[in-house]
């Protein structure tokens, strides 16, 4: 949905700790995981074989996403660098509980 004056609205996902790539190839282009919402609106994130439960938080101080433009270019009046507001972030999905491993193969007691 469009935001104020047609500005894109993004969502922030906040994770505790760090995300590491499975392979050493780096994060770009890789799949992070699956995001679901329960019927009660609770966000659930599945990353690798971990499951994280979070909550939707309306940001008291919204964020603006700035994109730097014209960096390095110099006109007659000097550098043209400026920042334009690309998107607004008013909501974040906060995941701060410990990730729980999803165990699919529970060995039977012998």
């Amino acid at each position: 949905s469009g935001g104020a004056g047609g500005l894109a609205q993004w969502v922030l996902v906040e994770l505790q700790g760090e995300v590491e790539p499975r392979q050493s190839s780096g994060l770009a282009g890789s799949l992070l995981g699956d995001l679901h919402y329960t019927r009660e609106g609770v966000p659930v994130l599945i990353v690798g074989h971990h499951i994280l439960y979070g909550k939707v938080v309306q940001l008291e101080k919204p964020f603006a996403v700035l994109v730097k433009r014209g960096a390095g270019e110099s006109g007659p009046a000097g550098p043209h660098t400026h920042y334009t507001v690309t998107a607004l972030i008013k909501t974040k999905l906060l995941f701060k509980t410990r990730p729980k491993p999803i165990i699919t193969n529970v060995p039977k007691k012998v």
Partner: protein, 333 residues
């Protein structure tokens, strides 16, 4: 759009069209991922029908973000730049030589850490004018010369101080000074209005008396108060009353000396930073009453901040002869 302003030795500020913000980087140990187009539970509820997987891309991630806090525009530099080359009038030999200390609006926008509106407003407050496309401040002596032309004309024509006609001023004084300068001095020291199609000025008593006081006070370190008041009243235009309260932020009376004295102390000459300002004031005088110090700290107040709050933060109070006074929290060198 927003602009970040600051030279290499300054702390960056972010400016909108009319506001200025201090910028600080905030670190978090959490990872922040930003996802364009990600839907919230409320947005998805409406869409009961589809059970498809929505492929979303994470645009990026970060450990830090910029935090903005609204701050006072940093305008002291504006006066400093314009004072590099004050305009001394068309006859001044100075202007005929090439000087590079001239600034137009674009220059000021890239050098001053404030929003455009705040800069333009301040230019008006300090009575700057545009001469040949550059913003200029008048040299004080030249400014007084212009003011004197006008007040003498008002006197010789016996005009009311609240109805000074622009047209006649330009006619009578146009041979002495540039018309733009005559109009500028009237705009600086008067309130413009139109009556019956003609432009008039209501002269500003407080501002004129204040300027004349400055002219008198700048000639010595300090003056005997009662002598000064006498000379001052004689120097202001007929019909105007010189009062000490007109000198707030310009001069300070020393009531502890015998006889009482007065000396020039201009708030615009003092540091812009809060702590430095208080240090400077306390090194000039050890203990201040609230009435005396207020004109010298009023401009430090942030949005919704009071002088009282500033005093609580930067000073310590005590009682002296039944009067509350403020002194420094720390020893001043």
């Amino acid at each position: 759009s927003l602009v970040i302003r600051g030279e290499k030795d300054e702390q960056a500020v972010l400016c909108s069209k009319d506001k200025t913000y201090d910028m600080k980087i905030a670190d978090t140990s959490n990872m922040l991922l930003f996802i364009p187009g990600c839907k919230t539970p409320e947005e998805l509820n409406a869409d009961q029908a589809s059970c498809d997987i929505i492929h979303s891309q994470i645009a990026g991630f970060s450990n830090n973000y910029w935090e903005l806090r609204r701050c006072r525009p940093k305008l002291k530099k504006l006066r400093k730049l314009l004072m590099e080359d004050p305009y001394e009038g068309p006859d001044s030999r100075k202007d005929q030589t090439l000087t590079f200390s001239k600034y137009n609006t674009e220059d000021l926008l890239s050098l001053i850490q404030a929003s455009e509106e705040e800069i333009l407003h301040q230019l008006q407050v300090i009575d700057a004018c545009k001469i040949e496309g550059y913003w200029r401040i008048l040299d004080f002596d030249y400014e007084m010369k212009l003011l004197n032309h006008v007040t003498q004309l008002i006197d010789s024509e016996s005009w009311s101080l609240s109805k000074v006609p622009l047209r006649t001023c330009l006619e009578e004084l146009g041979s002495l000074e540039p018309r733009e300068m005559i109009e500028h001095i009237l705009l600086s020291y008067g309130r413009k209005y139109i009556d019956d199609g003609e432009v008039y000025f209501e002269m500003l008593e407080d501002k004129i008396c204040r300027a004349i006081a400055q002219m008198l006070l700048q000639n010595a370190v300090k003056f005997n108060l009662s002598e000064f008041q006498e000379v001052w009243q004689q120097s202001v235009p007929e019909g105007m009353t010189a009062r000490l309260d007109q000198l707030k932020g310009l001069a300070l009376v020393d009531k502890s000396s015998r006889p009482e004295t007065i000396f020039l102390l201009k708030v615009e000459d003092l540091p812009e930073d809060n702590q430095e300002r208080f240090n400077s004031l306390f090194s000039i005088r050890e203990k201040w009453t609230e009435v005396d110090i207020t004109p010298y700290i009023q401009d430090l107040c942030a949005e919704k901040q009071t002088v009282g709050a500033l005093l609580t933060k930067y000073a310590r109070s005590s009682m002296q002869n039944g009067v509350k006074v403020y002194n420094s929290r720390r020893p001043i060198a």
